[in-house]
């Protein structure tokens, strides 16, 4: 059809690259408190508008405003802020460990702390998260022993995973934290299956699935959404849109063509797009979605809009592909600062308590790290015998023979 001339090929590009000024001019941020709150049992069809706006509760003055500004227990608020600080202290210390050559690898969640913590505090005992590698907050706001986390990172003699997993790939059934896979997206359909099982058994427990913006492109995301659409199991489908997937910006997962929240519409699944740096919004929306699940009203998808302030991992240098100052220019601010200001406004918190808490967690993690290091670093203390166990429940003859051959 020469009438229309030759075709051309276009690959989406982020608005800026290293050397450019950060530019979020196309990024729309609705005023806090302006987005409506549907009834928990509303129809998916009647809330499609919520996938293209952004639910926000905390305004610039640190006030919680609008229909999503629900009454919150002060203990939850304080625990939320403290857990975010604790997570940040943890991340910083682990980075140091990596630089010291005591672990080979680490991944921070800086700037994204509100999301995992805000949701975990809305979940109940027995519910199950299917996390990615950037939800350490799920554990750090619970009573999971921080020394165990560090021992996992150090792959030492007390590593609960016996040295078998890459650092930070935690697992704790007791804490509703499914064993992290290095393979992107695979856990999303597990969450849906787990929730189906809970419904099949007439249980009351629900699942929370976690995935990154980039990983929504993986096929198991679709498998999960199709199954969620068909069986309507009790699952909260979280997408953490931190704008980046290693060096790829969210447009390479289709984010320039529609919001990630909109993905749900084609499956008839209700979805909400939320300011992920707003602890109050995270908690309120999580509660709403969790109640939907608990009331057998089915899955909800939530896109948490945030920014990956940290490098992808300790192996990554983001200044190679995005302006160094981009995280500073990020319009949604710092989740810790925003909740801090809110709590100070409520009279529940102060600058002094903040400094005190920072110091306290710094010290807690320092001490824990010291203890953990005493059990070994960089794989030291791990046992070669552990190679052959847990491949199967009972060790089959060929593995026994191999263990023997190895002489352990």
């Amino acid at each position: 059809m020469p009438d229309f001339g030759p075709l051309s090929f276009k690959v989406p590009e982020p608005p800026v690259r290293p050397g450019d000024e950060p530019d979020f001019s196309d990024f729309e941020v609705p005023k806090a408190g302006t987005v409506r709150r549907p009834e928990v049992d509303a129809d998916a069809d009647d809330m499609k508008d919520l996938a293209t706006t952004m639910i926000r509760v905390l305004n610039r003055d640190g006030e919680a405003v609008g229909p999503w500004a629900i009454d919150m227990d002060r203990e939850v608020l304080l625990h939320g802020l403290r857990s975010m600080l604790r997570t940040r202290a943890f991340d910083e210390r682990m980075m140091t460990l990596q630089r010291q050559g005591k672990t080979s690898f680490y991944m921070k969640c800086t700037g994204e702390e509100a999301i995992a913590i805000g949701q975990q505090l809305a979940l109940s005992q027995g519910d199950m998260n299917f996390p990615t590698y950037r939800q350490q907050g799920l554990l750090l706001c619970q009573d999971y022993p921080v020394v165990d986390m560090i021992c996992q990172i150090l792959s030492n003699a007390r590593d609960p995973l016996r040295g078998r997993q890459l650092p930070i790939m935690y697992s704790s059934k007791k804490h509703g934290f499914f064993t992290i896979s290095g393979n992107l997206g695979t856990q999303y359909i597990h969450a849906v299956g787990w929730a189906m099982a809970s419904a099949i058994k007439g249980d009351t427990k629900i699942a929370a699935a976690w995935i990154g913006d980039g990983s929504t492109a993986e096929s198991d995301f679709h498998a999960a959404l199709v199954n969620a659409s068909v069986y309507k199991p009790p699952v909260v489908l979280n997408i953490v849109n931190n704008q980046w997937a290693i060096s790829s910006f969210q447009g390479l997962a289709g984010g320039d063509s529609a919001t990630f929240a909109e993905r749900a519409h084609g499956y008839g699944i209700p979805s909400l797009r939320v300011d992920g740096n707003d602890f109050m919004a995270v908690h309120a929306v999580s509660k709403w979605a969790i109640e939907r699940a608990r009331r057998n009203l089915g899955p909800t998808l939530i896109e948490w809009v945030t920014y990956r302030v940290a490098p992808h991992s300790t192996s990554d240098d983001p200044s190679k592909y995005r302006p160094r100052e981009e995280s500073e220019a990020w319009p949604l601010g710092d989740p810790v600062l925003r909740l801090k200001n809110h709590l100070i406004g409520l009279g529940l918190w102060s600058e002094e308590r903040h400094l005190q808490a920072e110091a306290e967690f710094d010290e807690e993690i320092r001490v824990a790290t010291k203890e953990a290091e005493s059990y070994g670093v960089m794989g030291g203390g791990s046992s070669a015998r552990d190679i052959f166990e847990d491949v199967y429940k009972d060790m089959p003859p060929h593995l026994r023979a191999q263990r023997q051959k190895m002489g352990v």
């Binding site: 609960p160 016996r162 969450a191 299956g193 999960a224 199954n227």
Partner: protein, 338 residues
């Protein structure tokens, strides 16, 4: 004991387990209301309800992935992949998730799931209804792989698979569903209902995972095989008159190498036989282990008779399929080596 086809035996295994254990669920494409394209689940939804036996969307990764999630919860899913030729989209979930979950979580999470799938050729099904992909599962540490060849074994092994605490790939040679096919496609087929190996207990029993069966004792050569090829081997033995020992592996991983090496040590000659393509087929592993264990007993190189190294053709099925003539020729030439 009643007479059952392999379809009925497989169905009976699920029936028994659905009855005994509330945590057993069965699902897959067309397995619910319709009862499966091979009727393996016929009647089960009616008996146990749609929460226990149901249809799934057409997404094999989703079938296995959701099954894994259920297994993590505490259920024992027995899922069907409609043809083994369609199992590849689920390979990542099997390799990266089911097989490694116990290991990577140090036992914190496990995935006791059974994946049933009809495999093998002989039904004029062309490239997408004929494949035998077992080798790609036997390379995966953490999986168990089973290929039964009789109704009795199929039921007993499927019950063991569902009860097993590790993930099991359970491949059902579809050419054996109705009767013991010996490769003579031009002769009338026998049905299990008139065959001694079609006698199956109605209730619960186990055939243990990891144990081979000696289908025929013999002194001159060992035939190591599984699935449909067990009967092809029998036919070739009958036709050549060679006194071969026929070993039906039943479980491929973990492999019963003891039974194999005892036999080969005795006979000194060995034929490895499977439908799957030759290169990197499971036969290679069998050969590698035998030559290691029975080196000094071997009087001739171990021979492999398998499908050719091509995609499974349609019209040329009987030229492709390693039938009794090819097996017979190989047996004869093995015996000629002195």
């Amino acid at each position: 004991m009643v007479q059952m086809t392999m379809i009925e035996a497989v169905r009976s295994a699920m029936d028994v387990m659905l009855e005994r254990d509330d945590n057993v669920v069965v699902f897959g494409e067309d397995v619910g209301y319709f009862g499966g394209v091979f009727r393996c689940t016929a009647g089960l939804q009616k008996k146990y309800g749609t929460s226990r036996v149901f249809d799934s969307p057409i997404n094999e990764s989703g079938i296995v992935g959701a099954g894994i999630g259920m297994a993590v919860y505490g259920l024992r899913p027995c899922v069907e992949v409609q043809f083994a030729d369609y199992i590849y989209p689920a390979y990542d979930q099997l390799v990266s998730e089911a097989a490694r979950m116990r290991y990577r979580s140090a036992g914190d999470f496990t995935a006791p799931i059974t994946i049933r799938s009809p495999c093998g050729g002989g039904i004029f099904g062309g490239q997408t209804h004929s494949q035998s992909p077992e080798a790609i599962f036997t390379h995966v540490s953490g999986l168990k792989t089973i290929v039964p060849s009789t109704p009795y074994d199929a039921k007993g092994l499927l019950i063991s698979a569902i009860e097993d605490d590790d993930p099991v790939v359970f491949l059902e040679p579809k050419r054996l569903y109705n009767g013991p096919f010996d490769g003579h496609h031009d002769k009338p087929a026998r049905n299990w209902t008139s065959h001694p190996l079609g006698e199956v207990p109605e209730g619960h029993y186990n055939v243990p995972i990891g144990e081979a069966a000696i289908r025929r004792t013999g002194a001159d050569v060992s035939i190591i095989t599984y699935g449909t090829m067990c009967f092809v081997a029998e036919a070739a033995v009958a036709e050549t008159g060679i006194d071969a020992e026929i070993i039906d592996l039943r479980t491929l991983l973990p492999l019963d190498i003891e039974t194999i090496s005892q036999s080969v040590s005795k006979t000194g000659r060995c034929l490895v036989l499977h439908e799957a393509t030759l290169t990197s087929g499971f036969g290679a592993e069998i050969v590698a282990q035998i030559q290691e264990r029975c080196f000094y007993a071997l009087e001739a190189p171990i021979e492999r008779v398998t499908g050719w190294d091509t995609p499974y053709p349609h019209a040329q099925e009987w030229d492709y399929f390693p039938g009794p003539a090819r097996v017979g020729r190989a047996l004869r030439s093995l015996m000629e080596v002195i």
